[in-house]
């Protein structure tokens, strides 16, 4: 089943009366946007955009997601975007939101969302209030006032898609498709409606995946370009599980509260251990080493865009923890682009050979 492209999906959404909301990475309340008839489309770059224009506003040591997203949002390609949501994932995205709000004249509002860095009682109370505050801003922007029933309905739609997404992330071996096809399908969650995504996921052939060769875990932020998976398969290895921000770090649990904001709040802090929300390192390492064990991972590739500070701090300790359990470790920094540089491919190839 062919996955609809972004442009078609966006055009259809606009034709159906939605406003398009460009959303930066990566934890955010999809259901809340949808309840206000804002159709969320995620921006992880995009990789094909030239980063140079972004440098008019940011120094060269800024991550490429920020540079490219800024460039994209300033281009005519973003004319269909009505508003932006920039979650406070890191200092760079914080800087981007601040610069766009304060210095770059745009005819579309920028909403921000601060995700708490803990999971205490105060954090839960806070995120609920933060979501209510965002709701009030969306109401002022759209002039719409969805009731609790509508919001709950949107939450349930998203929960259904989250369940399928989470199952896929945790059971790669049950899908008999190539890595690229599997992970492309997962990434379609970034712009498809919940129902469209579920349909795509259910359309993937089931059965025991033929995952011969070294078993890899891919960690980091985003695997751009997706051809990376074909290259890995070409080297004779397979990505049997992941710890990427765009995939497994967004396995959310469902909620059961009848109040929609309380339910959303619980969902928003239900993701697995994640450095961007400051999960204690020990908790994260336990989680990752468990997954490595469960999936019989032989090597972990951490594939990060350059200057991604939240990722860089825990890597030395993670490397020690992973190596201590007999798993190999490779760290690659990349610039978001439409091709994987040969130098990176050579490193991956050599890494896979050491596992064979």
């Amino acid at each position: 089943m062919k996955i609809p492209d972004r442009k078609t999906v966006i055009d259809d959404a606009i034709a159906s009366g939605y406003r398009i909301g460009a959303v930066l990475p990566f934890h955010y309340p999809r259901a809340l946007l949808r309840a206000y008839d804002i159709y969320p489309v995620e921006l992880w770059g995009p990789p094909r955009v030239d980063a140079m224009d972004g440098r008019q506003h940011f120094p060269e040591y800024t991550c490429q997601i920020v540079l490219k997203a800024t460039r994209f949002l300033l281009s005519p390609q973003a004319d269909s975007v009505s508003c932006m949501l920039i979650p406070h994932t890191c200092d760079s995205l914080q800087g981007m939101a601040s610069v766009i709000k304060d210095f770059i004249p745009m005819d579309k509002p920028v909403f921000t969302l601060y995700h708490p860095r803990g999971r205490r009682k105060s954090d839960l109370t806070y995120i609920e209030q933060e979501l209510r505050s965002l709701g009030r801003k969306l109401e002022a922007f759209t002039g719409k006032s969805p009731d609790d029933k509508r919001l709950l309905a949107e939450i349930e739609r998203e929960e259904a898609a989250n369940t399928v997404f989470g199952h896929m992330c945790q059971h790669r071996d049950q899908y008999s498709v190539s890595d690229k096809r599997f992970y492309t399908c997962l990434r379609s969650r970034e712009y498809l409606s919940p129902e469209q995504f579920i349909e795509q996921a259910q359309g993937l052939p089931r059965g025991r995946a033929e995952l011969a060769g070294p078993r890899l875990m891919l960690s980091g932020i985003v695997p751009e370009p997706l051809d990376l998976f074909d290259h890995i398969n070409g080297f004779g290895a397979h990505v049997v599980t992941d710890d990427l921000a765009c995939y497994s770090r967004r396995i959310y649990q469902g909620g059961d509260a009848s109040d929609p904001y309380q339910r959303l709040a619980r969902i928003m802090i239900s993701m697995p251990p994640d450095p961007t929300v400051s999960t204690p390192y020990s908790e994260r390492f336990t989680y990752l080493t468990d997954r490595i064990r469960q999936n019989r991972v032989q090597g972990i590739i951490v594939y990060n865009p350059k200057f991604c500070e939240p990722e860089l701090f825990y890597l030395p300790m993670l490397e020690d923890a992973v190596r201590a359990m007999g798993c190999s470790f490779l760290f690659i920094e990349h610039e978001l682009s439409s091709d994987v540089p040969q130098q990176i491919l050579n490193r991956i190839n050599a890494f896979v050979e050491t596992l064979t």
Binding site: Y61, S98, K101, D123, Y126, Y281, E309, F313, L315, M317
Partner: protein, 438 residues
């Protein structure tokens, strides 16, 4: 806490340490008094020697404090009043990293951290502290082991990762005071969130301290902290005088106590002395830069390893850094601190730290400083390993020129990593900047 530890602490840190440090201070003061006065800069304030004594004594106590008092490490923007009121000995890794930088040890420690797998792209303060930890070397003799680590992200998200890593290495509990970034004015739920966390910190810290928090003592510490920050603000604002009696470089040096010891009476006494000395300079018409032609604002962290070189270079061109918004960070909380309602006041104070506010707010703040201090230009230190402070500078500089006709210079360097600093390039750019200011 055994008696032997206490006795050792008392003998070394107080009985022997105090007179020794006093002697060192007097020697330093004599050196300042005898300094050559023909250069472009007036000799440092005598108070600089007094500050070295104050901080050295703190570090000296830190060497022997484990087993005598509970130790809390805290980030430089973290709320310390609850910890001080509970009797914790406080240690600030940020200050230690800055000290290493000023002693030109930052790069060497960074390289050690890099050899252990840390990227050159992470904050050089963090790399400095990691390197110091791995090498088990420090210019302060010995760093006390933490019983508790309190970190607040009101200066950056980086500190969360840095302190968490240290907590993991040292097996110490880390308490986070999470401060949502303020793109606009603070919303009630944001203030409530910080207040809730401070209330959650109390039982955690009480358990480790082994004592109950005295509300009265918390009020007293808050009152001292507020007084200390008020004094710091007064000191910074003395730079409105022409010629300015102190420069931003003096402030970088003198800020240590307000960052780490602001609730202590000794810090208040110290800043009162600083203020008196500055007022004497004003009365005598002494300027920190002898031939003050241009007055500028320094944006962002200092370049610790080249502080002296930079101040002399700028002074040689008649440029006085009158004020820095970095040092102002520790003056600002004073307006929110409230000894009558210490928790709520602290929630507001720590949420509203300038580094926790938007680029637009920082620009408005720069404009205000340009007016208040009658400034001719702004030096924007584009600090490679400090993203939160550096992002936004390009637009801030453009806006200042467009709206106020005030030129700015974006100077690329790093606060602690000297490998990023290109002396020749910096000299050329500073000369061009001086020409722009006329």
């Amino acid at each position: 806490m055994n008696l032997g530890n206490r006795l050792h602490y008392f003998l070394t840190a107080n009985l022997a340490g105090r007179p020794m440090l006093r002697l060192q201070r007097k020697r330093q003061e004599r050196r300042y008094a005898d300094m050559d006065r023909t250069g472009d800069l007036y000799p440092p304030l005598m108070a600089t020697a007094r500050m070295a004594e104050l901080l050295s004594h703190q570090y000296l106590k830190g060497r022997y404090v484990n087993g005598v008092r509970k130790v809390a490490w805290h980030s430089s923007g973290a709320p310390i009043e609850i910890l001080q009121a509970l009797g914790f000995f406080l240690y600030t890794p940020d200050n230690h990293a800055a000290l290493c930088g000023a002693r030109k040890m930052g790069t060497a420690f960074s390289e050690i951290a890099e050899s252990r797998g840390y990227s050159r792209d992470i904050c050089s303060y963090a790399r400095t502290d990691f390197g110091s930890y791995f090498a088990q070397r420090t210019p302060v003799g010995r760093i006390p082991r933490p019983d508790l680590i309190v970190v607040s992200n009101n200066i950056c998200q980086t500190v969360l990762h840095w302190y968490q890593a240290m907590g993991t290495y040292l097996n110490a509990p880390v308490f986070l005071v999470d401060t949502p970034f303020l793109y606009d004015e603070a919303e009630p739920h944001q203030i409530a969130y910080v207040k809730d966390q401070l209330e959650e910190l109390i039982p955690v810290a009480e358990t480790i301290a082994g004592r109950k928090l005295s509300y009265q003592r918390l009020q007293e510490v808050t009152r001292n902290g507020k007084r200390c920050s008020d004094l710091w603000l007064e000191i910074l604002y003395r730079a409105r005088h022409r010629p300015t009696p102190i420069t931003g470089f003096d402030a970088f040096i003198l800020m240590g106590p307000v960052v780490a010891m602001r609730g202590e009476p000794a810090s208040i006494t110290f800043y009162q002395q600083v203020l008196r000395e500055i007022d004497q300079r004003i009365a005598q018409g002494i300027g920190a830069v002898k031939n003050e032609k241009h007055r500028i604002l320094w944006d962002n962290l200092p370049i610790w390893y080249n502080l002296s070189w930079m101040s002399k270079k700028l002074a040689s061109l008649g440029i006085a850094v009158a004020i820095s918004n970095y040092t102002y960070q520790w003056a600002e909380p004073a307006m929110h601190m409230d000894p009558d309602r210490p928790i709520e006041g602290a929630a507001r104070a720590y949420l509203h730290a300038i580094l926790n506010r938007s680029s637009g707010y920082k620009l408005r703040h720069m404009r205000q400083m340009i007016t208040d201090f009658d400034l001719d230009g702004v030096l924007l230190h584009s600090d490679r390993s400090c993203k939160p402070y550096s992002l936004g500078q390009i637009d801030q500089g453009a806006a200042l020129l467009q709206e106020m006709g005030v030129p700015s210079l974006i100077l690329e360097a790093d606060h602690n990593d000297a490998r990023i600093f290109s002396e020749e390039q910096v000299v050329n750019r500073i000369h061009a900047f001086a020409e722009m200011m006329g």
